[in-house]
C-alpha cells in the first residue's frame, strides 16, 4: 500500500508542479518545455509501478518499470546487437536508398506535367496502402539477412517521399519562377536556387514520415524470417515464451531509436528550413 501512496503522492506533486509551470511566465522557456512532459512521463511510470506492486499483477502480464530497467541494463550487449542488425543495417540503409530513389524519381518526372498529374493521385493512394504486407514476399526473394529488411523499407518509404517531393517542387510561385527567368536562369539553376529550397518543408515532411515507417518495416520483415538476432526476432520469440520484461526492454530500444531517428531529421529540418514560418515561432 505504501508504494501506491508514494506513487499517488508523486503523481499529485508532479501534476501540481506542471500546472504551476504551465500557468507561469516560464512556460515558453526551453527548460519548461522539456520539464513538463518529463514530469508527466515520470508520474505515469510511477503510477504504473505502484499499481503493479499493489495489485500484485503478474510480471508476465505487465512487468513494473524497475524490472524492465534492470533487464535493460543486464542485457545491453544483446540489445545493442539487435539494434545494429535491425535499425542500423536494415532500417537505415533501406531509408537512405528509398529516399534517394524517390528523390531521383521526383526530379526525373519533374519536367513532365503529364507524369506528375498521373503520379500524384496514384502515389497518394499507394502511400495509404498497407504496404507492410509485402514483407513476406520480399523476405522470400532476398533471404533472411538484413538485405530483405532493407528492401521492405525501400518500398515503404518510397511513395510518401515521392509524393511529398513532387508536391514540394510545385510549391514555388509563378512570380518567383518568372523572376528566375528574367535573371536568365536555366532549368537546373532555378531548380537548385529556387525550387529545391522552396520544396524543403515538403521534402522533410516525407523524410519524417519515412523515419517511423522505416523502423516498422524493418521489424515486421523480421517476423517472416531473420537470423537469430534482431529486434523483431527478439520481440516475437520472447513474447512467445512470455518473457515480457525482455519484450518491454526491446520496445524501449525501439522507442529510443525511433525518437532519436525522428529527432535527428527534425533537427536537420530546423537548420535547413529556418526561413519557414512554422520554424519561426
Amino acid at each position: 500500500m505504501i508504494w501506491m501512496l508514494a506513487a499517488l503522492a508523486f503523481w499529485a506533486i508532479a501534476t501540481g508542479v506542471n500546472i504551476c509551470l504551465a500557468g507561469s511566465n516560464h512556460r515558453h522557456k526551453r527548460w519548461a518545455r522539456i520539464l513538463v512532459p518529463a514530469l508527466f512521463g515520470l508520474s505515469v511510470l510511477g503510477l504504473w509501478e505502484g499499481i503493479v506492486r499493489v495489485l500484485e499483477i503478474s510480471p508476465i502480464l505487465l512487468p513494473p518499470p524497475t524490472l524492465i530497467a534492470s533487464k535493460f541494463a543486464a542485457t545491453t550487449d544483446l540489445l545493442w546487437k539487435d539494434f545494429v542488425q535491425t535499425a542500423l543495417k536494415g532500417a537505415l540503409s533501406g531509408y537512405f536508398i528509398g529516399c534517394a530513389a524517390a528523390f531521383a524519381t521526383a526530379i526525373a518526372v519533374d519536367r513532365s506535367d503529364f507524369l506528375q498529374r498521373g503520379l500524384l493521385p496514384i502515389g497518394n493512394m499507394v502511400a495509404a496502402l498497407p504496404i507492410v504486407g509485402i514483407a513476406p514476399i520480399l523476405v522470400k526473394w532476398y533471404g533472411f539477412g538484413w538485405e530483405s529488411k532493407s528492401a521492405v523499407v525501400v518500398v515503404m518509404v518510397f511513395f510518401p517521399m515521392l509524393v511529398n517531393t513532387v508536391q514540394g517542387l510545385r510549391e514555388a510561385d509563378a512570380i518567383q519562377r518568372d523572376l528566375m527567368r528574367t535573371y536568365a536562369a536555366g532549368y537546373w539553376k532555378s531548380l537548385i536556387k529556387l525550387r529545391l529550397p522552396a520544396a524543403m518543408p515538403f521534402i522533410f515532411n516525407g523524410l519524417k514520415i519515412g523515419t517511423t515507417l522505416a523502423l516498422i518495416g524493418a521489424i515486421v520483415a523480421e517476423y517472416f524470417g531473420s537470423p537469430i538476432y534482431g529486434m523483431g526476432f527478439r520481440i516475437q520469440s520472447e513474447a512467445g515464451r512470455l518473457a515480457m520484461d525482455m519484450v518491454w526492454a526491446e520496445i524501449a530500444v525501439a522507442a529510443l531509436a525511433g525518437s532519436a531517428f525522428y529527432g535527428t531529421v527534425a533537427m536537420i529540418e530546423k537548420m535547413v528550413t529556418f526561413w519557414h514560418p512554422s520554424q519561426r515561432s
Binding site: P37, I122, A128
Partner: protein, 288 residues
C-alpha cells in the same frame, strides 16, 4: 477530370513494369525446368511459361486477377477460402479501431485545446508514441489479451488499429479546433456564450474540414494497423492472416491477391469518408 488520362498512363506503365519483372524473375525456374527436360526454350515459349507458373516468384497481373475472381465471386461468402469473408473480418476490426482511435484522438484534442497543462505534458508523448514502431507492441498486446482471458481476436487488433489511427485525428483536430480566429471567439464572448456553447457553435463546426481530412488518413492507418495486428500473431482469419498463410503454406499468388484486396479495401474506405466529407461540407455551406 483532366488527370484521368495521366493516371491511366502511369497505371499502364506500372503494369507493364510488373509484366517485365514477372518475366525476368520467373525465367530462372523456366530455364531450369527446360534444362532438366533437355529442351531449348524459345523466346515465345519462355514468355508463355513465365506467365503461367503455378508457384511463380512474381505472379503476372492477370494471374492475380483470376485468383481474386476465383476467391471472391466464385466462392461462397461463408467459405474460409473466400477473400470476402477474410476481408469482412479485417474490415470489422478496422472499423472498431477507427471508432476507438477517432474518439481518443478527438477527446485528447479537446483536452489539449482547452488545457495548457495537457498541451505541454501530453503532446510530446503523443508524438513519441508514434515513433515507437507499433509492430513492436503487437505481439505483446495479443499475449496480454489472451492472458487476461480475452480470446476474441478482434480486441487486440482494434487496439493496434486505434493506436495508429488516433494520432492523425489528434493533430488535425487540434488545428481544426484552433482554426476560428480571435475575432470570432471574442464575438461569442460578447454574446456571453459559455465555453460549451462556443465549442458547439463555433469551434466544432469550423473544425469540420480538418476533421474529415484527418479521418481519411486515420481510416487508412487503422486498416494498416489491423493488418499488422494480424500478421505476426498467427491469426487464422483476416486479410493479414491470409498473407501469413500464403507465405508459409500456400502459393505466393495468395499473398498477392490478399494484398490487392487490401489495397482495394483501403481505397474504398478512403473514398467513403471522402464522400461523407463532401456531403457534410456541402450541407454546412463550407464547400467552395
Amino acid at each position: 477530370m483532366r488527370s484521368v488520362l495521366p493516371v491511366f498512363t502511369v497505371m499502364a506503365v506500372i503494369i507493364a513494369i510488373w509484366y517485365a519483372a514477372a518475366v525476368s524473375m520467373n525465367s530462372g525456374w523456366a530455364y531450369d525446368q527446360a534444362e532438366r527436360a533437355g529442351k531449348e526454350l524459345s523466346f515465345p515459349e519462355l514468355i508463355s511459361n513465365t506467365m503461367s507458373q503455378d508457384r511463380a516468384r512474381l505472379p503476372a497481373p492477370h494471374q492475380v486477377a483470376v485468383e481474386i475472381w476465383k476467391t471472391t465471386v466464385e466462392k461462397k461468402v461463408t467459405s474460409k477460402r473466400s477473400l470476402i469473408f477474410h476481408g469482412w473480418i479485417t474490415l470489422n476490426a478496422t472499423l472498431w479501431g477507427f471508432a476507438l482511435g477517432g474518439v481518443i484522438g478527438l477527446s485528447l484534442a479537446i483536452a489539449i485545446v482547452y488545457s495548457r497543462v495537457m498541451e505541454m505534458g501530453v503532446m510530446p508523448w503523443a508524438v513519441i508514441s508514434q515513433t515507437i514502431p507499433i509492430v513492436a507492441i503487437a505481439p505483446m498486446i495479443i499475449v496480454m489479451m489472451s492472458l487476461m482471458g480475452i480470446e476474441e481476436r478482434l480486441v487486440p487488433k482494434a487496439i493496434i488499429a486505434a493506436y495508429l489511427c488516433f494520432f492523425p485525428v489528434l493533430v488535425g483536430m487540434i488545428k481544426g479546433l484552433r482554426s476560428p480566429d480571435q475575432m470570432q471567439l471574442d464575438l461569442l464572448r460578447t454574446y456571453h456564450a459559455s465555453p460549451t456553447q462556443s465549442f458547439w457553435k463555433l469551434r466544432f463546426p469550423s473544425s469540420m474540414p480538418y476533421l474529415f481530412t484527418s479521418l481519411k488518413i486515420g481510416i487508412a492507418a487503422a486498416l494498416v494497423g489491423t493488418i499488422v495486428g494480424e500478421l505476426p500473431t498467427g491469426a487464422l482469419r483476416g486479410l493479414g492472416a491470409r498473407i501469413l498463410v500464403g507465405d508459409q503454406f500456400g502459393p505466393p499468388i495468395r499473398i498477392w491477391s490478399a494484398l490487392i484486396v487490401a489495397a482495394l479495401l483501403a481505397g474504398a474506405l478512403v473514398t467513403i469518408v471522402g464522400v461523407l466529407q463532401k456531403i457534410t461540407l456541402k450541407r454546412m455551406g463550407m464547400l467552395r
